[in-house]
Symmetry: C3
Subunit: 388 residues, 3 copies
């Protein structure tokens, strides 16, 4: 990995002092938890690869517990995943010279071709804390040996609640993670969703645009809690008709329940890059979706849908509904429109200087608030020395 | 577009003070007219994309008149052409947030998802003057708001004459535009055409090389007129046999009409990059061909063939002849050999430093004259800030 | 060829003063002999292309003698190989303007399209000395006009001996040549060969690792002789079992002849990049294999196998054995495992900075000795000005 292509020139960074760290975080933030795979993707004893914040990882599940090591031998840098050799349950052996590491902490326990080396027991490959929650495997992209902050500070409020039942899917997207996050939290981009099959399926409302009243964006910056930007839709000016020269040329979908359109009630973005949408795609449902940094040009799009449920019968019904309705119609009939938009954005934003050439308008205020929140509260920017 | 790959290092430029601007013009010259599409390629109401001097454009024909806008929304930089939305005849709407621009001048007239934005009516996307002539759509790659020079100053003499009937075709070529121009105006490269089927078809002469006598290249540099380098073949030393160690190894084709070989009478190159060839591919015909800059590695090769005609019967006969004879045998049986040569040249000249490593000889004098003319008379070099 | 991608930053080079020239030699060393093709690949009168140390070459055999020219016309840089034109036995003519060069010395003898040019007889294309030996075509990548050192100083001892019968094959490998050389001379990497079909075929021994006793690596640095690092296996500590936590998890193959395992007796690496292995793949055989620099990311892997023979009957038997046994089972059942390892290494070492991030251990001492020997005894590093 050539570090130059992953990092933004200092001269450009200096032009945006209020969100400089966000601009610099092409590969995401350090010392945060990110979901990298679904629990269902990693069976007992299995080894799979994943890329997080520019770092190639290898994951293994042992007795149900997931471990994460950097997928690169400390000796001559080859990838374990080129040919996985696990002779014991809790070690991985490099195919090249038999360097053997413990999954639990990355310590070099043996070298098959050189058993008397002084390196044994002294050196280690980078290892990363892992937690599983709600069917997702979270990895802490942190400094070696640091104690991670609780996962609960890196996910939106409600996500970890006992009664929140979560189902999820994962998509590979050809854009930088910041482009993903900004498309998701952009109040105007609902314009692209006016043709989604979700509208017919749910019989709900969808304006063609909406903007927050000035000053009605809220920040969650309390110590020890998730950090986020909240945009409650009750303060929104929603738009149901699009006009050119005074003539209506496109229409949103407005369906009333009593005096109110039956619609989504809020959106919020949380560090290190998770959107929560309330009462979407239908009443009583929540979307939590992550834009997980992989490389400069790709992110791992982890979409989940949650519902507060307690009875087993209700949970079974929701599981059926997820597979038959929300995955095909919402994830793949609504969120896929977002994926297309991100790929379009990436053509522009892939050039670092583009971030200075954009022409934001009033309705983009929540995005600026998000950039500035990231600048202030991230726990570190992934830097060249972290990925080389 | 990463600007670095499009522009030549200052340290290299300084080594060729007499043609420095030409060396720098990897993406062509600014404030000039270029043909970008054939008129026949753009029907009424249609929208098509084209790239000129590194800038992505979108063209639309409205009531017969062609307009050109930059294919990039001012808001977040996405390309209109990803999904063209034209709700009214004279506007284009960005698919992402409904930013709507007037084709005539690029002004932002409406934002469908944000109708009260202060940006409306104040901001604009870049728009470019367009003229149609002789079946070609010319775009002026100029500074915003500048008044363009007349088209007649940017085409070779004779091209716009009332009695000059023009037919044309267009080819995408994998070389920089300068490589295209230099191959076209190179008096020695006729060597590659000795195998062309055109020779049998026209029963005319073609030497295997010819060089201008010293001092017999003429410059057209008068104010208010096209700027060009003229190489009349009457001053040429033509070569009909190629020898190695005194033995003939290849022969040109010499067919006499009275005392003179029946052949082409002159070539001239004109800013911003158009070659005229007189009495070619046959007596009474003219080639006008443009090497239109697209990207650093590609140009748009617009070939036209002209004949002075007045009667409708003669025009109809020439049209038939164009399709049945000149396009297949001249464009695609002679000019295609030039395309191959340019692709070969590009492997060398794609590295900027190669321009300092070439080894020109006496017969390349017209090329040097062309480079220096461009240096003196161009109206601006396309620069990083023009394409980012 | 963009020179930047081929050369290592000065700031990085300064960090390894003892093997700096080796680190810098991404495209190999200058003023050395390299085998580029097998003699059998170039028939009488034939012209073939090859790349050596970043320079594109063209080879021709005339009356049995092989000549090498740079595959680039001095005029406008096109490649002769785009369309080879050889009108006489001892010249090559550029397809573009008929520049004609003598194979023997590269002198420009004629220009078909410009016979009176003053450049004729004065200018030349780069030419390179060629020697054929043992069925290989060696090219001296040297400064123009310099007198090459004898070939015998650039091949391992024994290779050119009259009774050494050589058979060979050639493979294109997707790694830098230094990665090839280091994998070949790495005493620990035998670990990857434990699964080779060669073991069953030869009924010989192969440990899973072996390391030289400290101080038992020998250097050959005498003036006027080949320069090499010798690792005689008699001083080796060989390892026949690989253990994790004290438990055996992999085993080598140990077959005894009397009191000694029947096995390879030594390995040595020689400038400019040739490995000799003694008594391998079987007793009485020698491997000589070259890692010939092509581009930054590829090398030409020339493997030969030698045996001391005098009678014609023995030579015929060895030739049969080569094709039926050593090429399929040793080259393609053992060396192919090395090729896979090099491709794995290249992912890491392609980034120049990786060379500073590797974590070598005690058993890698021969590699360091090799790097330092190259640093001291190379006759020049291939530099940007040599390949542009």
């Amino acid at each position: 990995m050539e570090s130059s292509e992953y990092f933004v020139d200092e001269a450009l960074l200096q032009r945006v002092p209020k969100w400089r760290n966000y601009y610099a975080a092409k590969l995401g933030f350090r010392n945060h938890w990110y979901p990298v795979r679904l629990s269902s993707e990693l069976g007992e004893g299995q080894v799979i690869a994943a890329t997080l914040c520019g770092v190639e990882l290898l994951l293994k599940r042992v007795d149900g517990v997931v471990f994460a090591l950097r997928d690169r031998c400390i000796h001559r840098g080859v990838k374990f995943s080129d040919k996985v050799e696990c002779y014991t349950r809790d070690t991985i052996t490099c195919w090249y010279h038999g360097f053997t590491y413990r999954w639990g902490d990355g310590v070099l326990t043996d070298i098959l071709a050189s058993p008397s080396s002084k390196a044994i027991g002294k050196r280690k490959v980078d290892s990363y804390p892992v937690e599983e929650a709600k069917g997702l495997i979270f990895v802490y992209m942190g400094d070696q040996g640091a104690t991670p902050q609780p996962l609960s500070e890196d996910v939106p409020p409600g996500f970890l609640d006992d009664d929140m039942v979560i189902h999820s899917a994962r998509y590979d997207v050809g854009s930088n993670w910041r482009v993903g996050a900004e498309n998701g939290f952009d109040g105007l981009h609902v314009y692209i969703h006016r043709t989604s099959p979700l509208l017919a399926s749910t019989q709900r409302s969808l304006p063609i645009g909406h903007a927050t009243e000035s000053g009605k964006i809220f920040l969650q910056e309390e110590d020890g809690k998730p950090k986020g930007v909240l945009d409650p839709f009750e303060h929104h000016v929603s738009l149901w008709e699009g006009k050119i020269g005074g003539e209506v040329v496109v229409k949103g979908t407005k369906r009333m329940t009593g005096n109110n359109p039956n619609r989504t009630t809020g959106a919020s973005m949380w560090l290190p890059g998770c959107l929560r949408v309330d009462n979407f795609p239908d009443e009583g449902l929540f979307i939590y979706e992550w834009y997980v940094p992989e490389t400069a040009d790709t992110h791992n799009y982890v979409i989940t849908i949650g519902k507060r449920l307690t009875s087993e019968a209700d949970k079974a019904a929701f599981e059926h509904e997820f597979w038959s309705r929300w995955k095909p119609i919402s994830f793949e009939g609504f969120n896929n429109q977002d994926i297309e938009a991100r790929v379009g954005l990436q053509k522009f934003y892939k050039d670092d200087v583009a971030w200075l050439d954009e022409g934001l308008i009033e309705g983009d205020a929540p995005l600026i608030a998000w950039r500035e929140l990231c600048h202030r509260h991230n726990r570190g920017v992934q830097k060249p020395e972290d990925v080389r």
